[in-house]
């Protein structure tokens, strides 16, 4: 990449300082090792993102839900060394940290929806995975419609090929005329797409496909999920047997297969390589709670919670853990867009800094919440069950995953 020797030198110094800071952060257990180096590097060398992206083949994955899991599946399916950000630091600082840490040419990065435009531009990504757009941390994001418009500019400007969700009207509208491979994940959360993003008419849904009188419609999919079967572009069908639970992870695997096809990896190889993925950065891992093993799940917003609740069984013992820190979103109104009514009559655990917000929600939903700041105390109040599940928002999940 062209540039002055001075800016190249500045970047070298910045990387050294960044590496030292990352080491110090990890050594002192401060946990910012994934972002601090990037913050420092960018301060010293503002063009670092573009410079560090030179001579790479970059794939970006973004969307409200499923980024981390799909990124991990893509990396596993590629079966080769990659530069990636597995701990989910997905704004510019996290991306720069990951780029500075590895010179592997194949680069696969998860990117926050609000940062996609800048990062797509600076990295000159040639492949972008657009998974879904629904309400999440609206105190930070403002409106989902705004993200759709930002994405639309991104795809129009970048020239990247988009692996895109055909079942999500906001994604389809954002992609516009950009070159795309369409994936139909087999289901969607329609709460933020009642109205056409292009013309404001109400969308119609017929037999699982959506369309608008203005012409915007669900495109014919190249890859389609039917139950746990993936239908490929040539019409052939493969079973998706990933150990990760739930239909949402079948969908994530479909996106991964469609993406690695652009890297020359066959669907069969992709699925075979992912056959042993049982957890992703703590998601679906087993932790210890109240003296017993518990399945730990992460969910952050109504669409994600709908998918997670779908994975629970009627005889599970369940603890919900809700925080409203900066990274969770400061407002918990979204709890009332989650169908806790299905827990009517059941004893459930309410944990987390915002356990009282949650307890009220559960009570109004007809459930019987047991509330405590100590998750072991909460778990001990639950009925005996074959399986204990803990479903937590982001910052609570981050703490809980250390309990192994």
């Amino acid at each position: 990449m062209k540039g002055s020797p001075l800016s190249a030198a500045r970047l070298t110094v910045a990387r050294l300082l960044g590496a030292a800071a990352g080491w110090a952060s990890r050594a002192t257990g401060r946990g910012e090792g994934e972002t601090l180096p990037g913050v420092l590097i960018l301060r010293l060398a503002p063009d670092a993102l573009a410079r560090l992206s030179a001579n790479r083949s970059t794939t970006l994955i973004s969307g409200t839900n499923g980024k981390s899991t799909t990124t991990a599946l893509i990396v596993t399916a590629l079966g080769r060394p990659t530069t990636t950000n597995p701990l989910g630091a997905n704004v510019a600082s996290g991306v720069v940290t990951a780029l500075a840490a590895s010179s592997q040419r194949t680069t696969v990065l998860e990117v926050d929806e609000l940062s996609l435009r800048r990062i797509a531009s600076d990295t000159r990504a040639h492949l972008i995975v657009a998974m879904n757009l629904t309400r999440d941390q609206l105190d930070r994001a403002g409106e989902v419609g705004r993200i759709e418009r930002d994405w639309h500019r991104t795809f129009a400007e970048s020239g990247a090929h988009v692996i895109a969700n055909a079942a999500d009207p906001l994604v389809v509208s954002a992609v516009g005329d950009a070159p795309a491979t369409w994936v139909d994940p087999g289901w969607s959360w329609p709460g933020d797409s009642m109205v056409c993003p292009a013309c404001t008419e109400l969308l119609t849904r017929v037999e699982g496909r959506w369309f608008c009188t203005c012409g915007l419609h669900q495109p014919t999919a190249n890859y389609r999920v039917e139950g746990t079967t993936l239908v490929l572009p040539d019409g052939s069908r493969l079973p998706i047997e990933v150990p990760l639970p739930g239909r949402v992870n079948v969908a994530n695997m479909a996106f991964a297969v469609a993406t690695v096809a652009h890297h020359g990896v066959s669907a069969q190889d992709a699925l075979a390589r992912c056959a042993n993925v049982r957890e992703v950065s703590g998601r679906y891992s087993t932790i210890e709670v109240g003296g017993r093993p518990a399945l730990l799940m992460l969910a952050k917003n109504p669409a994600g919670w709908a998918a997670a609740l779908d994975m629970l069984r009627p005889d599970d013992a369940v603890v919900f853990s809700v925080n409203a820190q900066l990274l969770d979103g400061a407002d918990t109104s979204w709890l009332w867009d989650v169908s806790f009514e299905e827990f009517g009559g059941r004893v459930v655990g309410a944990h987390g800094h915002n356990r009282h917000d949650l307890a009220l929600r559960l009570e109004v939903a007809g459930a019987d919440p047991r509330v405590d700041a100590d998750i072991d105390a909460v778990a001990r109040q639950l009925p005996k069950a074959d399986r204990l599940v803990v479903l937590a928002t982001y910052t609570s999940f981050r703490e809980l995953r250390r309990r192994r």
Binding site: R135, L138, D139, G142, E143, V144, G145, G191, D192, M194, V195, P197, T200, E201, L202, A330, D331, S333, W334, L335, W336, D337, H353, N354, H356, D357, A359, L360, R361, E363, V364, A365, P369, V371
Partner: protein, 241 residues
């Protein structure tokens, strides 16, 4: 058994911020006192019932709000309900829609329902954060009560001379049109910018709405709500009841 009919106006369009919770809370509090509840969701194309007991309208995103007001303008159920004195709670976009006009995100003026004497322009900066406000616009049990909630809006709502704000702001922005007031009270219509949901965080306001329909009510224990309010107040930097 007495049944209370709660109308939920366009929940699919005006429900982005969890305001469906207001309906759930109202229904729950009525049932706890032994009343039966019928929730009537008004979807696009449905007429708004003119003679229900209480009406709830939530907040939504820009494009959905424009679609919602177009649908409601074609129907007079809500106007009739207000004219015959039914209590209405309108949150955020719901409140803006009930006014004379509001500006959409491109700055264009969109005609409202003309039920409330207020107008909404677009603020430069989004108003987002905890709100604590003392009720000034309502009498009785709920007068001087501290409302607590979370605002997230880009509207600046100016009230006409003849109508009162709902509350005086202690923390936060509120209506955002120059003075530190929040919401509106006009007859039996209450408007507010507060999410939370507002009735979840402020059971006194929920009971104010229910009392106007059902008469005096037995108090509820509300243990979780007290802790919820206390924690939010702490976060907002105030202490109260």
């Amino acid at each position: 058994m007495t049944t209370i009919d709660i109308v939920h106006v366009l929940p699919g369009l005006l429900g982005t911020y969890g305001d469906a919770g207001n309906v759930a809370v109202l229904a729950h509090r009525a049932r706890q006192r032994g009343y039966a509840v019928r929730i009537l969701d008004v979807h696009p194309g449905d007429p708004v019932p003119a003679h229900a007991d209480v009406y709830l309208i939530g907040g939504g995103e820009d494009v959905a709000q424009v679609r919602a007001v177009e649908l409601l303008r074609a129907d007079d159920g809500l106007s009739i309900a207000v004219a015959v004195g039914a209590p209405v709670l309108a949150v955020c976009a719901g409140m803006q829609i009930m006014g004379e006009w509001f500006q959409d995100r491109t700055g264009q003026r969109i005609e409202g329902l003309g039920i409330l004497d207020l107008r909404t322009t677009r603020r430069q900066i989004r108003a987002v954060g905890d709100v604590v406000a003392r009720i000034v616009g309502l009498p009785g049990e709920v007068a001087e009560h501290d409302l607590i909630g979370f605002e997230n809006h880009q509207g600046a709502t100016e009230l006409g001379d003849g109508i009162l704000p709902l509350a005086q702001v202690r923390v936060g922005i509120g209506n955002g049109a120059g003075s530190a007031v929040e919401g509106v009270v006009a007859g039996t219509v209450i408007g507010t910018y507060l999410h939370g949901p507002v009735l979840a965080l402020n059971p006194a306001l929920a009971d104010h709405l229910l009392t106007s329909v059902l008469g005096p009510l037995e108090p509820l224990p509300d243990g979780h709500v007290r802790e919820f309010r206390r924690a939010r107040a702490r976060r907002a930097g105030v202490t109260f009841e």
